[in-house]
């Protein structure tokens, strides 16, 4: 079978339904083969749009997003979306064409060392030198992108490789060769018991939850922990929606753009239960003054996040879903009383009442953006898939669009990429056909990728 077909067969086997891409010389064999496959290709108007759409698709669906571009300029146009996905731990596979093997390194036409360029912003990458490695590499790429702490994986394929003939049995899974990749998911039982004890003893606990909860599909478990333990919850920007923001225990977002009450609570807490977060500087501000009275339980699947910025008192490396499940079991053994920290709950209530977020309605007869966002939230009951761009509107959206479910608020948090929102919304719409997807954009951000209007119009009938 032709290598180009093998690639598409392998993608099908990984469950790929949609590819966002833009063609060019070095990836033409792959495009030629696509006609024979039941794969939905969305032709964007700029490769950056393909990358962000794959990102939005992944965030909205929980599946690995796939984008595709040609060599050289096509590949370099994917750099921003790859960095964006890396910063927010989004599972993505980017496939790029490359010049033929004998032309690599010669400054050939449309040659760019894309594996080199993206080295610091990928979870892993491949430059495919032998066509027979393709099935294994594609399996590995999807496995790496989607497991552990998710992230982008790049597969760079020289055009002559895609033209070769090779044996391929779609029913036979190639053995992966990843001796160094063992994502730890379980969480150490002793540490989990210790966390339960610390939580039971806390007088002023706060849950600080982030994108890791959504990635691990652990919202239900988080909710049980909060309600069973009567613990107020604050989330990061990427964590928005992992706990329903209308819930009595929700304090909204924390940090520089967070709610006053979330920040008061963190500053007074004696215990921070940090789940799937990385103590980002937008959250903590000056690290030495962050949560000065608190001990830290830190749950994360990435061991390197633990004690990177803040020393954890109870570190737990593991998948949030599994850790929270076993933590609940341990906590229930300790039989926490509902009123064990009543004064704290009352204090949080008081802060919420006395320092609410203000929605400015209008000034000089003009509608204020916060009010518009508030209205969108009211009308959609927080159930639309809401994407944002980057800037002041993003923070207003984060504050006033209360998200009621995970994967319902999609924003470029870590990289802060203007131009992300609109193509991400296109990707989200493809992932969730029939649902309402909204992009709250700034005038500046929108102009960075507004050529994707043509993409949206072209595919509208299929995905709305």
């Amino acid at each position: 079978m032709k290598a180009s077909k093998v690639i598409l067969e392998a993608l099908k086997r990984e469950g790929v339904e949609t590819i966002f891409g833009f063609p060019g010389g070095q990836i033409i064999p792959l495009y030629d083969a696509i006609y024979d496959f039941d794969i939905n290709h969305i032709l964007v108007r700029h490769e950056q749009g393909a990358g962000h759409a794959a990102d939005g698709y992944a965030r909205a669906s929980g599946k690995v997003g796939v984008c595709m571009a040609t060599s050289g300029p096509g590949a370099t146009n994917l750099v921003t979306p790859i960095a964006n996905a890396y910063m927010d731990s989004v599972p993505m596979v980017a496939i790029t064409g490359q010049v033929s093997r004998h032309l690599i390194g010669l400054d050939s036409f449309q040659e760019a060392d894309i594996t080199g360029i993206t080295l610091p912003i990928v979870k892993h990458s491949y430059l495919v030198k032998r066509s027979q490695d393709l099935p294994r590499i594609i399996s590995e790429a999807f496995y790496i992108a989607g497991t552990g702490r998710p992230g982008p994986v790049l597969i760079d394929i020289p055009v002559d490789v895609t033209k070769e003939e090779l044996d391929f049995d779609p029913d036979h899974l190639p053995a992966m060769q990843l001796p160094g990749y063992k994502p730890n998911v379980k969480g150490h039982p002793k540490q989990v018991r210790q966390a339960a004890r610390v939580i039971a003893a806390a007088e002023r606990p706060v849950i600080y939850a982030g994108g890791g909860v959504i990635a691990a599909d652990a919202s239900q478990e988080l909710r049980e922990l909060a309600t069973y333990g009567h613990i107020p919850v604050t989330t990061t920007l990427t964590g928005k929606g992992c706990f329903p923001e209308e819930h009595d225990l929700s304090m909204g977002m924390l940090g520089m753009h967070g709610t006053p009450y979330a920040n008061y609570a963190v500053s007074q807490a004696d215990l921070l239960i940090a789940v799937g977060v990385r103590f980002d500087d937008r959250v903590t501000g000056n690290l030495s003054a962050f949560a000065p009275h608190a001990r830290f339980v830190h749950v994360d699947i990435d061991p390197a996040e633990i004690s990177k910025n803040v020393a954890a008192d109870v570190p737990i490396v593991g998948d949030a879903k599994r850790v929270l499940t076993s933590l609940l079991v341990e906590l229930k053994k300790l039989e926490l009383s509902a009123d064990r920290h009543l004064p704290w709950m009352q204090q949080v209530e008081t802060w919420k009442r006395e320092h609410p977020l203000v929605v400015r309605e209008s000034e000089d007869g003009e509608i204020m953006p916060e009010f518009a966002i508030h209205k969108i939230w009211e009308i959609t009951r927080g159930e639309a898939v809401t994407c944002t761009d980057v800037g002041q509107h993003q923070m207003w959206a984060a504050q006033h669009y209360l998200s009621s479910r995970p994967r319902g608020f999609i924003t470029s948090a870590g990289l802060g990429t203007m131009g992300f929102g609109f193509p991400a919304a296109i990707g989200a719409q493809v992932a969730r056909p029939g649902e309402l997807v909204i992009d709250i954009a700034g005038d500046g951000s929108f102009q960075m990728t507004l050529q994707e209007l043509a993409t949206a119009v072209q595919y509208h009938h299929r995905h709305r």
Partner: protein, 161 residues
């Protein structure tokens, strides 16, 4: 304090770049680095020396572990391991100084590996401190050039590093 990490990696193209790139990106400093194949050709060993003062070794180790091609990392305690560097040094030597140099070579259990009319090439292995002391003693004769490997290390005892 200097800290030695013995890192087993997949012997594949680009792995050294990934490791070096990681150090650059995270602002870590490499003091010395030695790379070579191990007893199994699909695995290479990188012996990396870092200074604890420049960066938390725990973060370095954890970040290295995140590289897909990194298989195993052992942090070597100097008291529990043997460490060596290799030095090749080219020193001026005439009829007058030659015997004195040879004495020093003898004391340090070094080896003369090449002799010509005006210079000697000497090979020497030892701990970093010993290699430095040897170099210092030879300075007075005129060092034409020298090459020195980074630190190699192996844990003591039965268990493989």
């Amino acid at each position: 304090m200097k800290h030695t990490l013995s890192v087993l990696v997949e012997n594949k193209p680009g792995v050294l770049t990934r490791v070096a790139g990681l150090f650059a990106r995270r602002g870590f400093n490499i003091d010395s680095l030695v790379v070579a194949e191990t007893e199994s050709p699909e695995v290479s060993r990188m012996t990396i020396t870092v200074d604890e003062q420049d960066q938390p070794v725990e973060q370095v180790t954890k970040q290295l572990h995140k590289l897909i091609n990194v298989i195993k990392i052992t942090s070597l305690d100097p008291t529990e391991s043997v460490e060596r560097e290799l030095l090749l040094i080219k020193v001026k030597a005439d009829a007058e100084t030659r015997s004195e140099i040879m004495q020093i070579v003898e004391i340090f259990r070094a080896k003369i590996v090449d002799v010509s009319h005006e210079v000697l090439i000497i090979e020497m292995t030892g701990t970093r401190e010993k290699v430095s002391a040897f170099m210092e003693l030879l300075e007075q004769f005129g060092v034409v050039e020298l090459v020195r490997t980074g630190r190699l290390a192996m844990g003591r005892g039965k268990r493989p590093t």
